[in-house]
């Protein structure tokens, strides 16, 4: 019994996954859900064969390239920004409102500007992805940086360390759990961002494929693309968790 329970725990997510897929398949069958509303898993599986593997790869890579670039740039911008904001009240006062402005601007609303100014290459899509992904990193990291116990910052001050070192050697390590939780949020946002960007301007990519397929009633293909998208998200999310575990084992649970 205990052994069984242990196996159940270890493979819980797999078991849950299988159960959901089964319920989905049976539900579609039982309630005769039409394919144009929700295709059954088997129909989605079949849909994978409608495109050649190399074409799937092409779409997937087009999206992942943008998502990863956007994610990296978002991180590269957000972390220094979070530092600047926690370091200076003035910067925080001036910059924060604009960050909120950017964050609460629906990208699709400014699509014409982006397309007209940045052209049609990979650039506008990366910009859109970056804009969508960066805000949670700024906020979480800033919160982590600001919640360092006073005793650690006093230690730093007593050593007359530069503020840079205070940030990199004390605040940053302390904020790491929060930075990483933000990175996990950001990677999923970057994927969604890349898809949204493809809605605005693209001729390939999973987002393009999804919209194209839905608009031509190939819902099963759209779902197949969605499956790849979601699987990529899960893998990247897992990679970030692994990275944290490897590089900063102490940052998973503090204390």
């Amino acid at each position: 019994m205990i052994a069984l329970k242990r196996i159940a725990t270890r493979y819980a997510s797999l078991i849950a996954f299988i159960l959901v897929v089964l319920a989905w398949e049976l539900g579609c069958d039982l309630f005769q859900v039409p394919t144009f509303v929700l295709p059954a898993p088997s129909a989605i599986l079949v849909a994978f064969t409608t495109l050649s593997p190399s074409r799937w790869f092409e779409h997937t890579w087009a999206t992942l390239e943008v998502a990863l670039l956007g994610f990296v740039i978002a991180t590269a911008i957000a972390v220094p920004l979070a530092i600047a904001i926690t370091r200076s009240k003035l910067v925080s006062r001036v910059v924060m409102p604009w960050l909120i402005v950017i964050q609460s601007t629906p990208i699709v609303a400014i699509a014409p500007i982006i397309v007209v100014t940045l052209g049609a290459g990979v650039l506008p899509r990366v910009v859109i992805t970056t804009l969508i992904a960066f805000f949670p990193i700024v906020i979480s990291t800033a919160t982590g940086l600001a919640s360092v116990p006073a005793e650690f910052t006093e230690l730093s001050r007593s050593l007359r360390a530069s503020r840079n070192r205070e940030y990199w050697q004390i605040r940053m390590p302390y904020a790491l759990p929060h930075l990483f939780s933000a990175l996990r949020v950001a990677i999923t946002l970057a994927i969604v961002g890349a898809v949204v960007a493809e809605f605005v301007a693209a001729e390939r990519g999973l987002g393009y494929l999804i919209l194209y397929s839905t608009s031509s009633f190939r819902i099963a293909v759209a779902f197949a693309a969605l499956v790849i998208l979601v699987a990529s998200s899960l893998v990247l999310y897992g990679l970030i968790t692994q990275l944290q575990r490897r590089l900063f084992p102490w940052s998973e649970h503090r204390g």
């Binding site: 144009f36 014409p112 049609a120 809605f199 301007a201 919209l211 608009s215 009633f217």
Partner: protein
């Protein structure tokens, strides 16, 4: 009054003015109908909403219905044609030197990422003996197209003639003049914008549907006779609309409704031959087998009334 929900294929605009005019002028009320209008997000969306039973009747391009049928079928039928000519057109600026497809070779074209026009484009080129890749294409958000043209980032856009007034106003701001080249000039034929109904409506409320179709026909005739009043009806329901643009859109759509074909067959009719041609264009451009379906099975003209 019988409640009828109408699913539009897109946001309120001049080319859909007749539905609003029908409400404002009381054509629907006179037919014993209480009509509610639902703006949509594209023909495919409208067809899906109808198929799912979220609306009783709707407007959409018949190409979408054909595609849906070819992909497995939806319980939706076209009950009345509105456009008997395709609305697709090339928009360019005066003086661009583009007057036909030959002179468009090597020029840059922007097209909306997700539009039914896109698939037709290569087929039109091929029919005119032009290699599709001889014209570089830029897919973009629809809202980016007119600015791109006005800025000279592209030389032409693929569009619907009904959308000309908006593009005109954007080009005017850049001091440019719009030039419209309908694709029908290059051999494109077929039905477009149509009135559709879900099979449930057809089966369960045929009488209501008949009255709706009849009232709609009167509304369309009214709108083509009194574009200003029809546009004003939209404006009254949708304050953010621009009256001049609404009227322009409506006027631009009239030749697609009122033309030699509708004169020949009568407004709303589906001529089987033209219906086949419509399907052949769709089938060729979307890589469907021409024999995959019988296009006449997608229309149900029983509701067109006495005139037919």
């Amino acid at each position: 009054l019988d409640a009828v929900s109408v699913q539009l294929d897109w946001l309120p605009a001049g080319d859909k003015a007749f539905v609003y005019a029908g409400v404002a002028e009381g054509f629907y009320r006179d037919a014993g109908l209480e009509v509610t209008i639902r703006p949509g997000r594209g023909s495919a969306d409208a067809v899906t909403q109808l198929a799912a039973g979220n609306a009783d009747v709707g407007t959409a391009g018949i190409g979408s219905l054909m595609q849906a049928a070819a992909e497995g079928g939806v319980p939706v039928k076209a009950v009345m044609s509105i456009y008997s000519k395709p609305p697709d057109a090339i928009f360019t600026v005066e003086g661009s030197g583009i007057t036909d497809l030959e002179s468009a070779v090597g020029k840059r074209l922007a097209m909306p990422t997700f539009s039914s026009s896109n698939a037709l484009w290569p087929a039109v080129l091929e029919r005119n003996g032009i290699a599709p890749d001889s014209i570089p294409v830029l897919s973009t958000d629809p809202s980016g197209m007119a600015p791109l043209l006005a800025q000279g980032r592209v030389d032409m856009t693929l569009n619907w003639v009904t959308k000309a007034p908006e593009s005109e106003s954007v080009l005017a701001q850049a001091g440019k003049q719009l030039e419209v080249l309908p694709l029908s000039d290059f051999g494109l034929e077929g039905y477009g914008f149509s009135l559709m109904a879900s099979e449930r409506t057809i089966e369960q409320r045929p009488e209501v549907l008949r009255r709706f179709v009849e009232a709609s026909r009167r509304a369309i005739e009214f709108s083509s006779a009194h574009p200003e009043q029809a546009a004003a009806a939209v404006k009254a329901a949708v304050p953010e609309a621009d009256l001049a643009v609404l009227e322009g859109e409506l006027r631009n759509s009239l030749p697609l409704i009122d033309n030699e074909i509708s004169a020949r067959d009568g407004l709303g009719a589906f001529d089987p031959a033209l219906l086949s041609t419509t399907w052949e264009w769709i089938a060729d451009s979307m890589d469907f087998d021409r024999d995959a379906l019988d296009p006449t099975s997608l229309v149900d003209t029983r509701f067109l009334g006495a005139e037919q």
